[in-house]
């Protein structure tokens, strides 16, 4: 258990971010190296709680105290085994997870919490460097085939789990590369894409089949998939963006964040991107104060925007945990992402009321008003203002999977929020069709996607077993 008195002896320490002046000039990850000695000292701060709230705060239920201790004891190989037992892709979460575990850390009640996320990343990077992470193909194949639709974190986690259980898994991806949001969504400065490729290599070697450019319901027939596969998992994400229906929305220069960000990923991958939306030299307003907004912010900085502002309709959260979200809940509090360090202004309690443009139909002005508290967001008279803009990025969240196409053709029922509705075993209204990740729970974290992918895989595996049994008993 870490070091008994470690939490009293050592301070929380995180890897340094590279200097803002330096990092906005490139697309590399922003964190500097962090020595393993320092990581081990952070591991020593873990108190090995009787109830490790981090462990339940974490959506994949990482057994955090165990690997904190193993790292402290310099047992990295044991640590990666424990880490992998709950999380297929710690190198992703170790980079981009907002770490609800740390918010739930018991030490966090009255001290800075244990630096769990950096420990996670260090374990997996250590393991890759040491060559401990290699393909683990199943020893026996079951002869069962599973189609996974979508190659984001949920799809990949499910595919790896199902494949290791001996099922033959095909992952269908509508884009040209595997990875979903991990590939086209997360900016490279948060996660460089070799990290993803490295993991995909392992999965390929384990026997997972990947098919890109395969847009089910568009260029692939749903019925055929259902015929050829014993089970189908919808892990297609929640890509339907929430729109801002105000006058002037149709003007040029107003884009969804998910139009803007993937283009940059492509360019980073060396693709030629015709008519790329660039922030360079422009006055940018990002509407939406969340993570996607922050990604747009960081990307805009790197594009060298003339100015960037980020609007949020909610009031500014408190500096510290708000009383409505006591420990160990995910705290309502002001967060400072790396992109915020790099510049730009953040505005709170603002509702955009209209856009106006120039004669060419380019957006030029944004009209807004300050509003009161949720849920009514009552406009405050006399606070109306306008702002010059050249580029508006809408990062206001998503409303569920894209309707029509595959979803309709599969005939699965949706819940009131427009997500695929499932039972406790991840099965949709259609027998044999399962759903996991954002497509099921709505827009969420990568770590939730992995968690759902794993749980859905387990459910599919058990379901396939009952199918085998019923076939056998019928025979």
């Amino acid at each position: 258990m870490g070091k008994i008195t470690g939490f009293m002896e050592y301070e929380r320490e995180l890897p340094q971010r590279r200097a803002v002046g330096e990092r906005v000039n490139d697309w590399f990850e922003i964190y500097q190296d962090f020595s393993e000695d320092k990581v081990r000292r952070q591991g020593a701060r873990c108190m090995d709680c009787g109830i490790p709230f981090c462990h339940t705060g974490c959506p994949v239920n990482n057994i955090i105290p165990d690997w904190n201790d193993l790292v402290y004891k310099d047992k990295w190989q044991d640590a990666i085994r424990v880490l992998h037992s709950t999380n297929n892709f710690p190198e992703f979460t170790g980079r981009i997870c907002p770490a609800p575990c740390e918010a739930a850390c018991v030490l966090g009640i009255n001290e800075p919490p244990v630096a769990i996320k950096v420990i996670e990343k260090s374990i997996v990077e250590h393991a890759f460097a040491a060559g401990w992470i290699h393909p683990e193909p199943p020893q026996q194949r079951t002869g069962r085939r599973v189609a996974v639709i979508g190659s984001g974190p949920a799809g990949l986690a499910a595919a790896q789990q199902l494949n290791r259980a001996g099922h033959s898994v095909t992952v269908f991806e509508k884009a040209d590369r595997i990875g979903g949001l991990l590939r086209y969504g997360i900016p490279d400065f948060k996660m460089e894409k070799w990290v993803l490729d490295r993991r995909l290599e392992q999965m390929l070697a384990e026997g997972v089949e990947f098919r890109t450019g395969a847009h089910i319901g568009v260029n692939l027939d749903v019925a055929q998939i259902r015929r050829e596969y014993d089970a189908v998992l919808i892990a297609a994400g929640a890509e339907q963006p929430r729109d801002l229906k105000v006058p002037g929305r149709e003007l040029k220069g107003i884009h969804f964040a998910m139009e803007f960000l993937p283009q940059q990923n492509r360019r980073g991958a060396g693709d030629l991107v015709p008519d790329q939306i660039l922030a360079t030299g422009r006055n940018v307003v990002i509407i939406g104060g969340g993570d996607t907004g922050a990604d747009c912010l960081g990307t805009s900085h790197r594009h060298k925007a003339a100015s960037v502002a980020q609007f949020e309709i909610l009031p500014m959260p408190p500096e510290n945990r708000h009383a409505s979200t006591p420990w160990p809940l995910w705290p309502l509090q002001l967060r400072m992402e790396s992109s915020h360090e790099e510049g730009g202004l953040r505005h709170w309690s603002i509702a955009t009321t209209a856009f106006t443009g120039d004669e060419n139909g380019n957006v030029k002005k944004l009209h807004a008003v300050r509003v009161g508290a949720p849920p009514r967001f009552e406009p405050i008279p006399g606070t109306e203002f306008t702002l010059d803009v050249d580029l508006v990025l809408l990062a206001m969240g998503f409303t569920g999977p894209v309707r029509g196409g595959m979803i309709d053709q599969l005939g699965v029922a949706l819940d009131t929020r427009g997500n695929v509705s499932t039972d406790a075993n991840y099965m949709s209204s259609e027998p044999g069709v399962f759903a996991a990740g954002d497509a099921r729970r709505g827009q969420s974290l990568v770590v939730w996607a992995i968690a759902e992918g794993r749980q859905a895989a387990a459910a599919i595996d058990s379901w396939l077993e009952t199918q085998t049994a019923s076939v056998a008993s019928a025979a």
Partner: protein, 1538 residues
């Protein structure tokens, strides 16, 4: 319906097998053997003077039983029989039977006829019957109701029969009659009982109070009734259903104590019947079976064994030495031949272990012996006219001082014997010498005993197989946690790991996870009726040695009898086992039987495999094998291991039934056992040794993986692991009050929870299992689950082993009642004062439909059609007054947390509890005061002032987290404040002993209750017990001991630090314990005299409702209030690192404490509010209405769990059928009997002093019935003057006579009690500043230092004051003294044990184990022979030094001068007169801990001396603190005498 011996039949949770007794015993004998009527009168007088050691139940006129045993009064009988028309032959030619017979005439006639027929068949003649005249008006209502018809039968032997032959024949007659009656269908056969049938002795006994016996049995007052000896007994049965038959004396013995191993002893006795042969009995021997009469009490069983061994040819002392041997194993000073005698007999049979003072007689010899621990008092006195009086107390007969030749006490393991034919007392040494010289035992041992080390090295030994280890670990259910939290810690320190905050995981029978069978069992432990032992500080009585091989006919003695293999401890390495497997020495021959079963064949396969195993075991015995190894090596895809405990117990019970069990030793070779509890169970169910090969492989695996601590390799890890297991075993034995592995083996001191009846009856015969549960099918399924996991491929993307989650919460691990959801909901609820959030919390706890966890989870509260309107239900503000917080000491939790709880409870009118650490006096007068002040075994801070400032005094007998264990507060936690409150020294570690050293039995508890009630008559006295089978019986004893409240704690409660074994495996849920308590108290009509409280993870309104319905009036909470104050279940309370400032003394961490009294208050109001809702739905308007209403509970009908569906709660929900007048809750106050206290007189005399501090002085006589003299007076002083008391010597009382127990207890400052005479146990207990002076009568002329003056456990827990004793003290003098100064002239064993402060001077010899666990203060011992330094002192905690420091010398001389002056001690004067020669013979006892706290390094002693400046500075410091600096001296103090 009645049980065969007159007890009620088992019903509900009551079982007659749980009855215990303890008592007062005594005898008087004319050493010359001259019979007289006077002896009988004296015996009865002794009995009457021991009355306070007995008890009465609901009927004050009915005692628990009393009796006398005398020689046959021939003159009287001759006269009486002549009147009846028959003539008695000469003494010795006839026998008299005392017979209890059916009351109904025709039934009685049939019984008499049966007896006469047997007499005739045995070739004897019935001379006649005599109605024994009795006076039924002399006895109580309850006694009358169950009184048998009492007659005497006179039987003549055949012509030419010797007296011994006739005696044996009479034995046969009685045994045959007992056996025939047992199977007869006579309706009133339960009345039948023969108290005695002998040519020498006769027993008069019954359900009587001592003073009733003479009038009930009128003939005892007839001048023609004469005897040379009289053995008497007054019974205090904890239990409740005293009967005529279970009164003592029995035929040979009477017993004060308890045989803890009785189940094993009886089983072994039964098992060896088939090989018994006796020339004296020949074929008649079989008529004696069963040797042990079924359904007897432990004492009755012991009597049966004594009788058989004595009548088959051994002398009575020989029998006693065999059954209750001295602690010889560790005693290197014992004569080698004597050791050989004991070791030889150890190979014959196991000791009957437990606290025991046994008085025995065969009518010619009479004597007494104490068990190896000496945990019962026995004092004797010899007069100049050859009278010997022995009793539990001194002063039971008035003897003029000048008549006294000697006074003494019985010592542990020693025997007192009078042979009336030889006409003298035979000293212990002579008895033992006679015994050991009977045969060349040492020689026999040398030639026949085999040692493991002597066996040849095996050619091959199993290595560890690291390739398959993971799947084997999985197959045996290893979890990652088992390795990390249990096994690895043992390899480092050689100790069991410690945890805290109790347990909140499901019972094994409710867990979703496959459990080891071991976890369906719970350890039993000693409470009240007998003490736990301290296996560390008193290790000299403990032993792990065992002798294995074939047992032979114990009625004979041959060299072959000790042809056994001696094992020093039960854990075998692979090499050890291989040696055994290949043994071929003499008769020792070993074979291996596989304990595997075909996993796919399920329960059937398992049962077949077990049957096969039993059959093969029988065959192996027939083929001459003497050792059977049951092995589960060789599991594979098809075969899974049979749970090792199941296999073992199946074979064991099979062989016991077959009566072949003693011919063979069972050895377990298994991958399953890994933790202490597993080994305990295997041994407790009969294994001789265990080879835990997978645990050993795991150690090697961990070594290979580099997981061992620095500097530990595989070999040291194995050594440490063995050490830890062995220490753990001793600890578990000692919790039950058992000292030796040999007695523990097969003793089955466990209770099963959730195993069904057929499984238990077949495989765990005799084990309590009261709620039914799982059977073989579930056990097979659990094995299959583990097996399937084992043979599933191990992938790298999975943990190798199941993570566990038994100790620390894990998502896919074991369920925990207290989990992230419940903790956060509760904290949010109390902080935001949100009842809605609180209900989310309670739903998460109460809804155990999905995750079964507790017994109450499966209960359902009934509702009625017309609920009570909620506003008619009594308000929450009334209900919360029934709530209490648990005993958490200041020391274990921080000042902030402790005071927050107190403020909260005082605000709502509930009660907080000090815990055992005392309480800062500055809190006494304000809201931070704890209403409940605890009195625990450490007695920390227990002063008169502490006691008078309580509303309730709680005697903690046991605590849920670790029943039967003591505790330890390490020195680094003892800061200035804690030291002040606990009256100790900062930095010095403090030990709480496992037992209260003044409670070794129920009558001792009654005494302590009486003591406390005297000091503070206004306070309720509460006794805290932990649930286990039989707790109801103990609670009944507690009620009879006049406690006002009894608290039944569940096993799961407990917040304190404790070994993990105890947290998980000792004690049972409160639901069972509470229900049993309620049932037994109601059945005995004792419930109305006592309030019942319960605790143990009570959290919600539903929990409280269930507790009330099961019978509790008050409710205790600990975990939930702690969580309300911010506890997040770190379970690191023992490490002082609590990050929320609760369980820590670290100022930095304490600053983080965020709890507020309001949080706790909110919590309790929420609980009360919820309770109100339940009350309304059941139609109750007052809590009082619902107490004991089990009819409102039922088992949840929704139970379809694969394990839980077998459970049956009907015994818990049982409602005893008693008439309506019998109360089901507390309705009347206890009569504590303190109105007779001498102190009322003392207080009258002291009015002037009390009111105006004017000095007073009085002289008074005193007797042994005057108990606790001075305590009430001291309470009065404390109330008026606080701990400061009165000026020195303000009140002076001078007594003459023999003082009763607890003379001068809690004596306050300003009082001096002087006693000319002698005193019983507990003199100066809790001395609080007063002064005690005791010296022998001025007219006596025995040597004071050689005669016992004050009894055992003198100055226990004294905090300040002085005591001067001109004579010898008994065992445990100044135990846990924390500040008193005492001078005494000799002491018994264990002097100054656990002492933490103060000063003791011993002007003479000490017993063994002096200064064990002593951590502070000093002792000076006059060691004239060098024996003290060489053998008597336990030097593990202390150094011995010469007294050559000037301050020490001055101080010592002054004290001895005062002793001489106050007591007139001739010895003190002589020492002072010869000071120059005597001084060098004094030894100073200096505790290591104390030295460390004073900062005086041991080795630097030279340097200190050679550097005068430093020394002067040190001395100056020391002078300020009143402590002498250790002198510079020879580094090896033991050679001080050169």
């Amino acid at each position: 319906m009645h049980h065969p011996n007159g007890l009620p039949a088992p019903q509900g949770l009551y079982h007659p097998g749980n009855e215990h007794d303890a008592c007062g015993i005594g005898f008087v004998v004319n050493i010359t053997g001259e019979p007289s009527h006077d002896i009988i009168l004296k015996g009865i007088q002794i009995l009457i003077n021991l009355t306070h050691r007995g008890a009465c139940g609901c009927d004050p006129e009915t005692g628990d039983g009393a009796g006398v045993l005398i020689q046959i009064p021939h003159k009287f009988f001759a006269r009486e029989c002549a009147r009846l028309g028959f003539t008695l032959p000469a003494p010795g030619e006839y026998g008299v039977g005392m017979c209890f017979l059916p009351v109904e005439p025709s039934q009685r006639l049939q019984t008499e006829g049966l007896l006469e027929r047997i007499v005739r068949e045995e070739g004897l003649t019935v001379l006649g019957w005599r109605d024994t005249p009795v006076d039924v008006d002399a006895i109580g209502r309850v006694a009358r109701a169950s009184q048998p018809y009492i007659e005497q039968i006179f039987i003549r032997g055949a012509a030419g029969m010797s007296q011994d032959e006739l005696e044996r024949k009479l034995y046969i007659v009685r045994k045959r009659a007992e056996a025939e009656m047992a199977t007869s269908d006579l309706r009133e056969k339960s009345f039948f009982y023969i108290p005695s049938l002998s040519t020498r002795t006769i027993v008069y006994k019954g359900l009587l109070l001592a003073p009733q016996i003479a009038s009930f049995y009128g003939e005892l007052s007839d001048p023609d009734a004469m005897s040379a000896l009289c053995l008497v007994h007054q019974r205090f049965s904890t239990n409740t259903f005293p009967t005529w038959q279970l009164a003592h004396p029995f035929r040979y013995i009477c017993h004060n104590g308890e045989i803890n191993t009785v189940r094993g002893n009886v089983n072994w006795m039964h098992a060896r019947q088939s090989i018994l042969r006796s020339d004296l009995f020949g074929d008649d021997l079989k008529k004696l079976f069963p040797v042990i009469q079924p359904h007897g009490s432990d004492s009755a069983c012991l009597d049966n064994a004594v009788e058989m061994l004595a009548l088959t040819g051994r002398s009575l002392p020989h029998v006693m030495a065999m059954l209750i041997p001295e602690a010889w194993d560790a005693d290197t000073t014992m004569h080698p031949d004597k050791r050989a005698f004991y070791e030889y007999h150890a190979s014959l049979m196991e000791p009957w272990d437990g606290p025991a003072a046994v008085a025995f007689t065969d009518g010619r010899m009479i004597g007494a012996t104490l068990d190896r621990n000496g945990l019962r008092p026995a004092r004797y006195l010899v007069t100049k006219d050859d009278l010997l009086i022995m009793a539990s107390e001194t002063g039971v007969l008035p003897i003029r001082p000048e008549e006294v030749r000697t006074k003494g006490r019985l010592q542990p393991g020693r025997m007192l014997l009078v042979d009336t034919e030889e006409g003298r007392i035979i000293p212990d040494e002579e008895i033992k010498q006679r015994l050991w010289s009977r045969n060349p035992y040492a020689e026999w041992l040398k030639q026949n005993q085999v040692h493991l080390d002597d066996l040849p090295e095996p050619p091959r030994v199993y290595g560890s197989d690291q390739h398959t280890i993971i799947s084997r670990q999985r197959a045996f259910g290893y979890t990652d946690e088992d390795i990390r939290m249990l096994i690895l810690p043992m390899t480092g320190k050689g100790e069991e790991p410690v945890g805290s905050m109790g347990t909140d995981t499901p019972l094994a029978c409710l867990s979703e996870k496959p459990q080891p069978l071991f976890h369906y069992f719970k350890q039993l432990f000693a409470q009240v009726t007998n003490p736990a032992i301290d296996p560390i500080r008193e290790e000299l009585v403990m032993s792990l040695t065992s002798y294995i091989g074939t047992e032979r006919n114990i009625l004979d003695e041959t060299p072959q009898h000790c042809h056994t293999l001696k094992l020093p401890h039960p854990l075998l390495t692979n090499r050890d086992l291989e040696k055994l497997r290949r043994v071929s020495t003499g008769d020792l021959l070993c074979t291996t039987l596989p304990m595997l079963f075909e996993v796919n064949a399920g329960a059937k396969g398992l049962e077949r495999a077990l049957d096969g195993l039993c059959r093969r075991a029988s065959l192996a015995i027939k083929s001459g094998y003497t050792m059977l190894i049951l092995s589960d090596r060789g599991i594979d895809e098809e075969y899974a291991p049979i749970p090792s405990l199941l296999a073992l117990s199946a074979v064991h019970n099979h062989l016991v039934r077959e009566e072949t069990r003693t011919q063979v030793a069972l050895i377990i070779e298994s991958g399953e056992p890994r933790e202490v509890m597993h080994f305990c169970l295997l041994i407790g169910y009969g294994a001789s040794a265990v080879n835990p090969y997978l645990a050993i492989d795991t150690l090697e695996q961990q070594a290979l993986r580099g997981n061992l601590a620095d500097g530990v390799n595989f070999e040291t890890a194995l050594r440490n692991y063995k050490k830890a297991i062995n220490k753990g075993l001793l600890k578990v034995f000692s919790k039950m009050g058992i000292s030796t592995l040999q007695s523990y083996r097969g003793a089955q001191v466990f209770e099963a929870i959730g195993l069904n009846r057929s499984l238990v009856e077949k495989y765990f015969t005799g084990t309590a299992s009261r709620i039914e549960g799982v059977g073989l099918d579930v056990l097979a399924r659990e094995a299959a689950m583990k097996h399937a996991y084992a043979f599933q491929p191990v992938t790298e993307a999975d943990t190798e082993l199941d993570p566990g989650g038994n100790y620390h919460y894990r998502v896919r691990g074991e369920y925990h009642l207290i989990n992230p959801t419940t903790v956060s909901r509760l904290q949010h609820a109390v902080r935001q004062k949100s009842f809605a959030t609180f209900q989310e919390f309670t739903r998460a706890i109460d809804d155990q439909q999905r995750s079964h966890c507790t017994l109450r989870g499966l209960m359902k509260l009934k509702t009625i059609a017309r609920p009570a309107p909620i506003d008619e239900v009594e308000p929450a503000s009334e209900i919360v007054r029934r709530f209490a917080t648990g005993a958490m000491s200041f020391g274990s939790i921080s000042k902030e947390a402790h005071e927050t709880l107190a403020i909260a409870m005082n605000t709502i009118g509930g009660k907080s509890n000090t815990g055992e650490g005392g309480e800062d006096e500055e809190r006494f007068q304000d809201k931070r005061r704890s209403a409940v002040k605890q009195v625990a075994s450490g007695r920390f801070g227990v002063t008169a002032n502490y006691l008078v400032n309580a509303d309730e005094l709680q005697i903690k007998i046991a605590q849920g987290a670790k029943p039967g264990e003591g505790g330890q507060l390490p020195g680094h936690k003892v800061d200035d404040t804690i030291a002040r409150v606990r009256h100790s020294i900062p930095g010095v570690g403090l030990i709480s002993p496992p037992p209260h050293h003044d409670i070794y039995s129920i009558e001792d508890l009654a005494q302590l209750i009486y003591d406390l009630k005297n000091v503070n008559p206004k306070a309720r006295i509460s006794v805290k017990l932990v649930a286990e089978v039989g707790v109801g019986t103990v609670a009944a004893g507690v009620a009879k001991a006049h406690a006002d409240v009894v608290l039944i704690s569940g096993h799961d409660g407990g917040t304190g630090a404790s070994p993990l074994t105890s947290i998980k495996h000792a004690g049972i849920p409160w639901e069972l314990g509470l229900a049993e308590t309620q049932q037994v108290l109601v059945m005995n009509d004792l419930r109305s005299r006592i309030r019942v409280q319960t605790d143990g993870k009570l959290q919600t309104g539903r929990d409280v409702a269930i507790a009330a319905l099961l019978g509790a009036e008050e409710f205790g909470f600990s975990t939930a209030p702690l969580v309300s104050m911010g506890c997040i279940m770190m379970r690191k309370c023992h490490l002082n690192t609590c990050p929320v400032g609760i369980a820590t003394q670290d100022p930095v961490l304490r600053a983080k404490f965020q709890g507020q009294p309001e949080h706790v208050i909110n919590y309790f109001f929420f609980v009360a509010e919820e309770l109100r809702q339940y009350m309304a739905s059941m139609g109750f308007r007052k809590v009082d209405e619902m107490i004991g209403r089990v009819d409102m509970l039922e088992m949840s009908d929704a139970v379809e769990h694969w394990k839980a569906r077998g459970l049956d709660y009907s015994s818990i929900l049982f409602n005893p059928q008693v008439p309506g007048r019998v109360g089901r809750r507390c309705l009347v106050a206890q009569d504590h009997g303190i109105h007779q206290a001498l102190d009322y007189k003392l207080i009258d005399h002291a009015q002037e002093a009390l009111e105006r501090a004017t000095p007073v002085e009085i002289k008074l006589p005193i007797r042994n019935v005057h108990r606790t003299v001075g305590a009430m007076l001291s309470g009065e002083i404390a109330r008026r003057y606080g701990s400061a008391g009165l000026p020195d010597d303000t009140i002076r009382f001078e007594f003459t006579g023999s003082a009763g127990q607890s003379f001068g207890a809690f004596l306050a400052k300003g009082v001096t009690l002087t006693l000319e005479g002698d005193a019983n146990d507990y003199v100066g207990k809790g001395l609080s500043g007063g002064r005690l002076v005791v010296y022998p009568p001025r007219t006596s002329n025995f040597l004071p230092e050689e005669n016992i003056l004050v009894g055992n456990v003198v100055l226990y827990g004294a905090t300040s004051g002085e005591a001067f004793f001109n004579g010898m003290a008994g065992e445990r003098f100044a135990v846990r003294n924390s500040g008193a100064t005492a001078v005494v002239e000799a002491v018994g064993d264990h002097g100054c044990e656990y002492m933490t402060k103060g000063l003791v001077v011993v002007l003479g010899r000490t017993g063994r184990n002096f200064a064990a666990g002593m951590s502070g203060g000093f002792a000076f011992v006059l060691d004239e022979t060098g024996e003290f330094a060489s053998t008597m002192c336990n030097k593990s905690a202390v150094d011995l030094e010469r007294v050559d420091d000037a301050a020490d010398i001055r101080g010592l001389q002054t004290l001895i001068s005062r002793h001489a002056e106050l007591t007139g001690s001739p010895r003190a004067r002589w020492i002072l007169e010869n000071w120059e020669t005597m001084l060098p013979q004094f030894v100073k006892v200096f505790p290591h801990e104390y030295r460390r706290a004073l900062g005086v390094p041991r080795k630097a002693a030279h340097a200190v001396a050679s550097d005068p400046v430093t020394r002067a500075a040190l001395q100056a410091d020391a002078d300020r603190s009143g402590i002498a600096i250790p002198p510079a001296m020879n580094a090896s103090p033991e050679v001080a005498h050169g």
